[in-house]
């Protein structure tokens, strides 16, 4: 008996003494092989537009391929769950919009714990605002409010789906401005745009509206960001319009699976901070109407928590339910 115990212990000790330096070495040498970046949406969407330039740039920086893998479906839950269950060795990462982690878990039961992901860095914020079909009439935010108040429930709004950032944006508008607008969920923003252009729905809040705003088919009513849009210097932000604390960007980030060593997150963050300051990256993101905030992992974690709390408060106050 004693001998066996000893052997077990010795074995365990051998394993531990062996594995610790190995693990450290693995972390220090990361990445030694290709890294999978899972985007929890179908190809061609906003996550792709932001995620792919990053994967390309990171591949060049680290000399290892950062392979983009689209695993779409169920409002981002499928891909996010896949990363949550992946080994936390830094070779599977999540490139996601904030909503799957800071909106969705407040509205439905998610098969993952959003607070356990390891934030690595922000990849970009989409800068856009509410837009309205030109056939409706209102051209400014105030005119839209006026119209909505005179015709309660007449306007409808297409979102990219339930529990997405743009869905919550409408709920915020309805709650803070006290107006009634019908929410129509679509499967992705492209699908919604198909109904917005022939005026089947009247409003949206997505970056794919921007080209049609420029073509004059839609009016952009505001910008939901702390700063005005470089292409639309005359369009005010929500704060300027009298709705403080409403200028929340549609933000994207890279997150590691729960339990991933912090060292890997820091290493990735350092590279991302450097890349974010290059003109190449700035112009690539600007082309898709995205701005590029530079933050440390700690700042990302704080921003994440604040965003989640703000969304939870809004959902509670506005009594948002999925029904």
């Amino acid at each position: 008996m004693r001998r066996r115990e000893f052997l077990t212990m010795a074995g365990a000790a051998a394993v531990t003494s062996f594995s610790i330096p190995r693990a450290t070495a693995q972390v220090a040498n990361w990445p030694e092989r290709p890294v999978r970046c899972i985007i929890p949406y179908a190809p061609g969407g906003g996550s792709d537009l932001i995620g792919r330039p990053w994967a390309e740039a990171l591949s060049q920086t680290f000399g290892q391929q950062f392979v983009v893998e689209n695993r779409g479906g169920a409002g981002g839950m499928i891909g996010t769950e896949a990363v949550a269950k992946a080994p936390p060795d830094g070779y599977t990462l999540l490139a996601t919009p904030g909503a799957t982690l800071t909106v969705l878990p407040h509205l439905r039961k998610a098969p993952y714990d959003a607070t356990k992901f390891v934030p690595c860095g922000r990849t970009g914020d989409f800068v856009t605002g509410f837009s309205i079909n030109a056939q409706v009439g209102p051209k400014t935010f105030a005119e839209m409010l006026d119209y909505a108040k005179k015709n309660p429930g007449k306007l409808s709004y297409g979102s990219a789906g339930l529990a997405t950032a743009t869905h919550l944006r409408l709920e915020m508008l309805k709650f803070k401005a006290g107006i009634d607008i019908l929410h129509v969920p679509y499967r992705g923003s492209a699908d919604a745009l198909n109904d917005l252009l022939p005026n089947n729905v009247q409003m949206m809040n997505e970056i794919n509206n921007i080209p049609h705003v420029k073509a004059g088919k839609l009016h952009l009513l505001n910008i939901n960001d702390t700063q005005r849009h470089w292409d639309f210097p005359d369009i005010p932000t929500l704060t300027e319009l009298g709705y403080p604390d409403s200028d929340v960007p549609i933000w994207y980030s890279i997150q590691g699976p729960p339990g991933m060593p912090q060292e890997i997150a820091e290493k990735l963050n350092a590279a991302m901070v450097k890349l974010a300051q290059t003109d190449d990256m700035k112009s690539k993101l600007r082309a898709v109407s995205a701005s590029l905030p530079v933050q440390s992992t700690k700042q990302v974690a704080e921003f994440f928590a604040a965003d989640s709390q703000r969304n939870a408060d809004l959902i509670k106050a506005a009594k948002v339910k999925l029904e």
Partner: protein, 502 residues
């Protein structure tokens, strides 16, 4: 219609399609399609599914040109085996076996094959022009479509698939509804509730179309073939005298023309496509013939009509897909998948936003048809030899490719298990004499119908009259009602049954 605009568009398409690279993709699609058409059990749907992940590395126009080539290439290839060995490589070639095989047994395989190829080529050219001319106005119409109109159009499509199914109507109804039920699996768009997922996260986004189609069509077909003793009485007499006589040409002219027109129109309808085109053309030829009793004994009209029709329909069925984003059949659903992979959302905006891609694809169809006729006539001997591959080897190869294909779509092992399950279901359906095509259409259209219906109801604030107030929607519903009535009326049902027994 401004002819200048059409010509300008075609010129733009020509500049895209005639690049060396795209010509190569076109040729590749045509070759693969012909091979797939020749091989029974491997249809264009499974092949396109298999190649879908491969197209990721191609440019969008090249990928779509190749995928399209596979589809109309399969229409050519399918007729080859139908005529030579009485094995329809494609369901749309089923009627071609009736007279084509008889012609081959009389030593007239050459003229039969040649007329099939020439008819297909003619139909392909006409359909290409038709797509080019009709797509812009149809697209403008499509942009007027509201959710209610889409819903009613899909109802019409489903009714069509019931009308066109072979055998019992009750069974066809059952298949459509079973397909719709399977389509309900996954996340509800309007409430976010999970339906029939049993906690399996692979099901959160619904059952995959590819595992379902591969299982029910591919795997089930293999099982069924293996349970039958091999039947491969290759025509022993040599395929001599390739070229049809002047008399053959004279007799084929009418059927080719009629088949092309009929096929082009039927291809436009959702739920229609090549199968519908070939069946109707055969029936039509029999109706207009002075000697209908001779059909089935080797009449060249019975080859020329259906073969032209299926190719015309195969091509015009691109119109609803390209202009509305609605898949009229499983192959078009695959094309939509191919577009999505490249970040193109099918719908009315494709033509405006990606004119090069749109017109390039259309012009490539003409090139593809030209390549196919050059490819098919001299290579008939080779295709026949492909059939000599023993089935025990062919079956394993097909199974192998199916598994790899499904796995590579989502990197999900569960989906490979799904094809096994659907394979068994498909075999059961074959044994029960239930046609799986309506099931597949129900599966595709069912969830879309649900989404459009609920969206229409949401936008109308819960008023169901929206489906009758909009003229387009109303017209579709009335048509669907009439069709349904026709099928149920005993006199017509009898006619339909005899038509399909032929």
């Amino acid at each position: 219609m401004a002819l200048d605009g059409l010509l300008a568009n075609l010129a733009l398409g020509l500049s895209v399609a005639a690049t060396m690279q795209n010509l190569m993709w076109c040729l590749m699609g045509a070759v693969i399609g012909t091979a797939v058409g020749v091989l029974p059990g491997v249809g264009p749907v499974a092949t396109m599914a298999l190649l879908l992940p491969v197209t990721y590395v191609l440019p969008a126009d090249g990928a779509l040109i190749m995928l399209a080539g596979i589809y109309y290439g399969a229409q050519y290839g399918g007729s080859t085996t139908a005529i030579l060995v009485n094995l329809p490589g494609e369901s749309s070639s089923v009627v071609t076996t009736l007279d084509g095989y008889q012609m081959a047994r009389q030593g007239r395989a050459g003229p039969a094959l040649a007329i099939a190829a020439i008819g297909s080529f003619f139909a392909g050219c006409v359909a290409t022009i038709l797509i080019a001319a009709a797509a812009p106005p149809l697209t403008r119409l499509a942009q007027q479509f509201a959710p209610a109109d889409y819903f009613s159009l899909m109802v019409l499509g489903l009714v069509f698939s019931i009308v066109l199914a072979r055998g019992s109507i009750i069974k066809a109804f059952g298949m459509v509804f079973l397909g719709m039920l399977l389509g309900l699996v996954g996340t509800d768009v309007n409430t976010g509730n999970l339906r029939f997922t049993f906690g399996i996260s692979d099901l959160f986004d619904g059952l995959g179309f590819v595992p379902l189609a591969m299982g029910i069509f591919g795997i089930a077909e293999i099982i069924a073939n293996l349970t039958n003793p091999e039947r491969r009485d290759l025509v022993s007499s040599k395929v001599s005298n390739l070229w049809p006589s002047r008399e053959d040409f004279r007799r084929s002219r009418g059927p080719i023309l009629r088949g092309t027109i009929l096929g082009s129109v039927l291809g436009l309808l959702p739920g229609g496509g090549a199968v519908l085109g070939s069946f109707s053309a055969y029936t039509l030829e029999k109706k207009v013939s002075k000697t209908p009793e001779k059909f089935g004994t080797g009449m060249i009209e019975g080859v020329a009509g259906p073969e032209s029709a299926n190719n015309a329909a195969a091509q015009t069925s691109f119109i609803p897909m390209l202009t509305l984003g609605i898949p009229s059949n499983a192959v078009m659903a695959m094309m939509i998948g191919g577009m999505m992979i490249h970040g193109i959302i099918p719908g009315p905006q494709v033509m405006e936003q990606r004119p090069g891609l749109f017109w390039g694809m259309i012009v490539s169809m003409w090139f593809g048809n030209l390549m196919l006729i050059i490819l098919n006539l001299p290579m008939i001997g080779l295709w026949v030899r492909l059939l000599l591959v023993p089935y025990r080897l062919l079956a394993i190869a097909v199974l192998f490719f199916c598994c790899i294909g499904v796995y590579s779509l989502n990197n999900s092992a569960n989906e490979v298990l799904f094809i096994a399950g659907f394979g068994l279901l498909g075999y059961l359906l074959i044994k029960l004499d239930c046609e799986p095509a309506p099931l597949l259409l129900g599966f595709i259209l069912g969830p879309m119908m649900e989404v459009y219906m609920r969206r229409a109801m949401l936008l109308s604030r819960g008023d169901p009259w929206v489906f009758f107030q909009r003229p387009l929607s109303f017209a579709f519903l009335v048509l669907a009602g009439i069709l349904l009535l026709l099928v149920v009326l005993p006199a017509i049902r009898k006619g339909r049954e005899t038509a399909f027994q032929e």
